[in-house]
Symmetry: C2
Subunit: 107 residues, 2 copies
DNA sequence: CAGGATCCAGTGCGATACTG
DNA sequence: CAGTATCGCACTGGATCCTG
């Protein structure tokens, strides 16, 4: 296991870098905060983040799934319905980014 | 005041993003960890991070100074001697990245 | 509606050479 | 020794189009 830098497939050993890597992405914090309030569908993210492109959102959702932070539930219906939610590991992430927020307030 | 995204000069309002932005950079965690053990000169960073280019190191040191995380002491001698150290704000950052590390260990 | 494919711009950072 | 300038490449993410 372990986290890998995407594309290059180079391994990250430092735990701090692994954690940082997982939350680094233009819309990841927004995604996590929104999921912390409740499960969401892609269109919800699009609605609440009109600045974000669909490409970036799906890309980052995919990475978060790979990293075990969130999970997908695909209802296999048509039109498509897929719901995202935090995994237990993702829920452990919330207090971590809250610590970040506390520090950020002092900047 | 406040943190700005470099180059674009767009303002970041979210405190979590501000904090994240400040520690995002390929060698910033390494720099901070090293400064936490004691003040350093540029050549020390180069020695302990042989993979890092001088360009990246000086660039990121500069950003950390701008963000008030570290400070320079320039001895104005020749050959040059400049020592970097954590500011009080930088010291507050240490426990924050330790929380990140704790989380990263579980990945 | 979810999300892949393609094209393109911005930017981070490595390598190297240079200056005071 | 600290720091800058230039070149070049790789990656992120925006815009748009396409499909089941």
């Amino acid at each position: 296991m372990g986290i890998y830098i995407r594309k290059t497939d180079k391994k990250i050993d430092c735990p701090m870098e692994k954690a940082l890597h997982v939350i680094t992405g233009k819309w990841k914090l927004a995604i996590l905060c929104e999921l912390n309030r409740g499960s969401c569908r892609l269109k919800d993210f699009e609605k609440h983040n009109p600045e974000a492109s669909k490409r970036a959102l799906t890309q980052q959702l995919k990475e978060l799934v790979i990293d075990g932070i969130i999970e997908k539930e695909d209802f296999n219906v048509y039109p498509k319905k897929v719901i995202y939610s935090l995994t237990p590991k993702g829920q452990e992430l919330i207090p971590v980014i809250e610590v970040l927020g506390k520090f950020g307030e002092k900047l």
